[in-house]
Structures are given as C-alpha cells and as structure tokens.
Amino acid sequence: MTRVRALSLTELRLFLREPVTVLFTLALPLMVLYVLNGVFGQDQGGDPGEIIVYRGFPAPDWYTPAYVAMALAGFCLIALPAHLVEYHETGVLRRLQASGVPRGAVLGSQAVIALVVATVGSGLLVAAAIAFTGTNAPENLLLFLVAYLVAAAAVIAIGLLLGVLLPTARAAQSVGILAWFVTLFVGGAGPPPEVLPDGLRTVGDWWPLTPVVQTLQEPWLTGEWATRASLVTAAVACGSLAVAWRAYRWD
C-alpha cells in the first residue's frame, strides 16, 4: 500500500509537470460542454408527434452526466494507456520490477492518478454546466456519486487494459481517441440515441461505454439506480481489470 501511495504521489507530480496534458485534461470536458451543448443541447420545443428525444428530459440535464463519462474517457482512454505503454516501451516498468514493485502497485497507482485527475475534470464540468447551461442538479446526488465511482472503475479498467495490450504509445493514443469518439457518437453523449440509424444504434447498444453513460444518467435524471446498466458497467470493470492483470508484462 505504501508503494501505491509513493508511486501515485510521484505520478501526480509528473503529471503536473506536463502543462499541455494538464490543460488538455481539464479543458477538454469544458470544451465538450461548450461545443456539444451548443450543437445538441437546444431544448427540443418540438411539435407533438415528433420523435421524443432525451426521454423527454431537458437536453442539458441529459447531457451533463453523459459529458462526465466523456471527461472520464478523455483521461482514462487517451492519456492513461499512452502513459502506461510509454513506461513499458522505455523500460520504466523494468526498473520498477527490478526494485520489487508488484504489478498491483503499478496498475493501482495509474488508477489512483486517473481517478483524481478525471474527478477534478468532471467536477469542473458539472460546476460549469450547472452555472452556465441551466442544468438542473442531480435528482439524487448520493446515488449519482456512487454511480460515478462505478463508472470511473469501468473506464479506468478499460484504460489499464489498453495500456497493457497496445504495443506502442502511438497506437495507444490512436485507439484511445477512436474509442473516445465512438463513445461520443453512439454512446449517448452526442446525437440522441433515438435519432441514430438502426445500425449505429446497435453499435451503441454493444459499445461497452454506453452502459457507463446510462449508469451516470439515471440517478441524475430520475434519482433511480440503473440496475441493468450498472451491472454491465461493473462487469466491464471486472472483466477488463482481470484481463489487464493477466496480460500485464514488465518487458
């Protein structure tokens, strides 16, 4: 445990020394909020008989929890895997291995730093959304926070998995960005799922980050717990972590 702590603090220090990454990580959620809210966030006045989107909720309420998922994905799927792969490529992991650092401490410290950074980003995003876009506060804040932890666990575990499996930092970055955009387009954070063509909607149904978005939305919008989505999310978290643990290589 002391090793996880020492490594996490070191990682946090190193992160703060990369101004571009810091800016990207904190500014991305706000940019997403600003741009996507401008595009999709207009309340659908809608004539009767039109497709009902956002399940009838105000667009900003629908989107804010979805953007929290995008903020999580922004750091955990793009920055985290590239960072872990770089450690693998440059022999930092080998140095840690030689000093008897267990894999749990390496993966654990990456998870801790991801949770801390993504939570700061999500917090900024939620605050800005409520302050500037007229988003209503979550129906059930406590349930939303629990949902956030479940969602974060899944996104972080996927990020660790990518970081373990992908061969180069460049590949990790490309795959991460791709996954981020797929989540945006079909996962529920971009166009309302109701207007997607059938094919894309099917992709969205099977995309592992879609239930993450739903897990976050339900307590925010209705104050209820998204049982099915959260179970899938938890399964994604456990499955990804298990595979990452087994596939982990020092060299």
Partner: protein
Amino acid sequence: MDPVIAVEGLAKRYGDLQAVADVSFEVHQGEIFGLLGPNGAGKTTSVECVQGLRRPDAGRIDVLGLDPTTHASALRERIGAQLQESSLPQRLRVGEALALFSSFQPGGPPWRSVMRDWGLEGKEKAAFGRLSGGQRQRLLVAVALVNDPEVVFLDEMTTGLDPAARRSTWELIERIRSQGTTVVLVTHFMDEAERLCDRLAVVADGRVVATGTPAELVAAHSDGVTVTFTTTETDLRFLEALPDVRRVEVRGDRAAVHGGPSAPPHVGRALVDRGIVPDDMGIERASLEDVYLRLVGTEAGP
C-alpha cells in the same frame, strides 16, 4: 567458503524456444562474475531466474542462502539490479528518483548520501531526461544500489554507449566491487569481460560451455603459444626436443614453434646456444576473443 550464488542445471523454455537449457555456475563473495555470450544465448533469462523475476522450469538456485522461487521478496531486499534497457520517467528528478526507490527497498543508507557517493549532489533537482548519458548511467547505478545490496546484477550496461562512456561505466563497476559488493555482470563484449571479470562463464545456446578466470579459459581452450621468427637455418628439428614444445613448422625462412606457455624461453635459449639470434622473434598467444569465438562458434558472434 560458501558461494554467494549457486546455480545448478537451470532450464527455462518460452513456448517453442528453449531459452536456457542447462546453466550451472557459482559466484563467490566480493568478485565480479561475468556471464559472457552472444545475444540470445540465455544470459538475461538466467540472471532473471536467479533474481526471482522469472520462474525456472528446472534447476536449483541458491542466492545468499535463499531460494528465489520461494523467497523472492526477502531476496529483493538484499540484492540490487540494473535490468537490460531499463529507464526512469523523463521528468522525474534525481532526488525524487532516489527517494522513491529507497522507499521501495528500505534499509540502505540515506538516499542523499547515495546521491553524493555517485557524484550527483549538484543534480538533485535535474530531471532524468535532462541528464547526460554518463549522469543517467550513474543515477541508474545509484538506484540499483539504494538498498546497499550484497549482490548487484548488471545486465548489458554498456550496450550503445560511446567508448568514453563505456570506460567510465567500467570504472563505476570496479568501484561497486571495491565497496565489497559482489557483482554479476551480463555482457556480450569480450573486452569488457576480460577487463572486469575475476571469473566468468561463457554461455552459448542456453548452456554454459566454459567457466574460469579469463587466463584459465585462454589456457584451457587455446592451442597455447606460438613463437615465430625468421632464420636461414633449415634444420630446426632440435627444437622439438625442448620441454613444452609440440610442433615446429618451417615455411621458407619463416619458422613457427607451437607449444605451451613455457615454450618461448626454452626456444630462445636453444636458438642462442646454437648461435641463431633472430631479430624479429614474436610470441603469439590466443586472446580471450579467439577462445570465445571457438567456444560459441564464429557465426554466433555479436
């Protein structure tokens, strides 16, 4: 005296590849012991098994009285390692690196004194990525030594370094030994092995093909010594009767006398006694390089 490390019949296979087939060696207290062999011979896998980083398929390993397959973490506290191509994060500072790694393996001297010992005291706030090649090497050595290990494993320390940096790395390695630490050095450079190692094992195709001091290896695996000179005398058969001389070859006015290590003085005296005083007498001994190439096969060289 009991050896610090005893390895017997070590074997390790990765899928279809038999990386280590049969490796045995002993390392004694306070020596620099080398594992010399071409790339892919199984040296790195062997030392990684010895350090408890990999689990061997077969064989018995004893390091400081511990079995690395069952007591890896207890062993970890008493050994240090510089693994092949390992590195530190670019933005990590010298002081942070030493503080972090000494927290992983407590029990060594204060990290600041390690930093002073390796000439890095002015660089405490410098990032790893901004250090010169030599400074990086010193920091990596210092990181491997933060827990004041009894044995340190150094794998391919000088690959890719320029001649000056290699030379200063050799000095670092000799300094580690002079502090009483036993050193296990993995290398594919013969000059490095010859210069640094008290004893070494030559590894080829996953097996130890020879063990000994560099001089013993040369003596045991070479043709010995050849004395050459120019003479107009055609009948040199009398030389064959001398002690330690095996064979005399004459081609034109060039003579070559093959024999053991004491052949040259006997040959010299016998020639002078007969009034033959060549002015170009030379003595050729096999070098460790000749022996190495003979042991591992010429095409397997690095």
